[in-house]
């Protein structure tokens, strides 16, 4: 693809990349957009860590039910084939490696797949972690969605995270507005770029980029 890509197009791309029949957890924020592009044919089942598989779209009007919310505390709906369970069972699903894919936002990702997305590291910040660390360590594949560069042009894909990490060696793929990166044993591969080239990206990043295989 040679065009720049927007948040919705990126979400669409992630959605298309998820294998049919997968069990998926979508983190709060940008990853939530992915649900808009999952098709019924894919037969994807969404997990929400507050105790449900088979989560449906955000509830509207009369559908709103205080007892049926997602991890972002937004009222949602229930699809046929749904099930409810308590918090320990729900996190057992995550920690036990039963989710195929988890899609998360990030402050930074390291070249070896360390994820930083829970704490800015600011000394006066009140820390809060929620389910971020469980999501990072739990799924078979952890996809990150983020802009590749900060507002002042720093790459968020870094040799080593400078923010406090959420999990180590956990991210397998990074979807950004500039390119899709795969974290492999050989290093970071660029699967595709959007309106840029691997050489242009390399010039702005410390992490060594490898071409797609």
């Amino acid at each position: 693809m040679s065009e720049k890509i927007g948040r919705d197009e990126l979400a669409q791309l992630v959605a298309k990349d998820i294998k049919p029949g997968s069990f998926v957890n979508l983190g709060i924020g940008q990853p939530t957009l992915v649900s808009n592009y999952l098709t019924p044919e894919q037969g994807i089942t969404l997990h929400t860590e507050n105790g449900m598989l088979g989560m449906g779209p955000v509830a509207q009007g009369d559908e709103i039910d205080e007892d049926l919310i997602n991890a972002g505390k937004i009222p949602v709906t229930e699809l046929p084939g749904a099930s409810y369970f308590h918090h320990a069972d729900s996190f057992a699903i995550m920690r036990g490696g039963h989710l195929d894919v988890c899609v998360l936002g990030a402050f930074q990702v390291s070249a070896t797949g360390d994820l930083a997305n829970w704490h800015t590291g600011a000394p006066d910040a009140i820390p809060a972690v929620g389910g971020a660390m469980d999501l990072a360590t739990g799924a078979k594949d952890v996809y990150v969605m983020m802009s590749l560069f900060t507002k002042d042009g720093q790459s968020k894909l870094v040799p080593e995270c400078t923010y406090p990490v959420t999990g180590v060696n956990c991210v397998t793929r990074i979807y950004t507005n500039e390119a899709v990166f795969l974290i492999t044993k050989d290093g970071v591969r660029v699967r595709e770029t959007f309106g840029t080239t691997i050489e242009e990206l390399q010039a702005k990043m410390e992490v060594k980029l490898l071409p797609a295989e």
Partner: protein, 232 residues
């Protein structure tokens, strides 16, 4: 034998100063709001509270914190846009915070109820939240040692109880209820309905009555009120 309390005040009357109290709920779902309000009224102080959050807006747990009745909170996500009472108490050094990843929080509560002395979890390994904790490499992966969270009381909300204390829940309001009921010495449960023993199908009971000490019926709020709460 199950104690069926007539009011939320009566239900929480035994909560003593210095107690560790598990409080159920995730957002408003499963939050035992009337029991928390009664706890506020009853005056118990110096509490250690375990909840996913650290109170929101000017209600429930947030008010307990505002009144400085909570000396320590164990939770996964204290920082919210409307957690101003916690923020103030925390910045003033007037509340101790133990921050625990949500899944470790759930598993530690589960471990207490299940008689597990401690366990190794991959969650948090290599992070700030594992600093100072015992770690172990198991099959090539890093794990952190975590310990059970025992408690004196659990305040939770379920949909129905029978007269032996068997509970069923509703949708994602189940969340921490079943594991908290098992982890506490005394479990206090608010329900929308108390049915005769024998009216709950034994196959669908989620929390067996062995884990429940006190139930109190609290009428469900009208739908309008429920919607208003959600929209907050």
């Amino acid at each position: 034998m199950l104690n069926i309390a007539q009011t939320a005040q009566e239900a929480v009357a035994g909560v003593h100063d210095g107690a560790t109290v598990l409080i159920g709920g995730f957002g408003n779902a499963g939050q035992p709001m009337e029991l928390i309000d009664a706890l506020l009224e009853c005056g118990a102080t110096d509490l250690t509270v375990v909840n996913n959050n650290a109170g929101q807006a000017d209600a429930g747990l947030a008010l307990l914190i505002k009144e400085r009745r909570v000396k320590k909170i164990i939770c996964s996500f204290p920082r919210q846009s409307d957690s101003w009472h916690f923020d103030t108490a925390y910045r003033a050094g007037e509340i101790e915070l133990e921050l625990v990843p949500q899944g470790n929080l759930a598993e530690r509560i589960r471990a207490a109820g299940a008689g597990i002395g401690g366990f190794f979890t991959p969650t948090g390994y290599g992070t700030m939240l594992a600093e100072g904790k015992e770690t172990r490499e198991i099959d090539g992966r890093g794990y952190v040692y975590e310990t059970p969270i025992h408690a004196d009381f659990a305040l939770i909300k379920a949909l129905k109880s029978d007269k032996t204390g068997n509970l069923v829940y509703r949708k994602t309001a189940r969340n921490f209820g079943p594991i908290m009921a098992a982890a506490a010495k005394k479990s206090i449960v608010q329900v929308s309905e108390i049915v005769e023993t024998g009216q709950l199908d034994p196959e669908v009971v989620v929390t067996p009555g062995i884990y429940v000490d006190t139930v109190v019926k609290i009428a469900a709020p009208a739908t309008a009120a429920a919607e208003q709460k959600v929209s907050k």
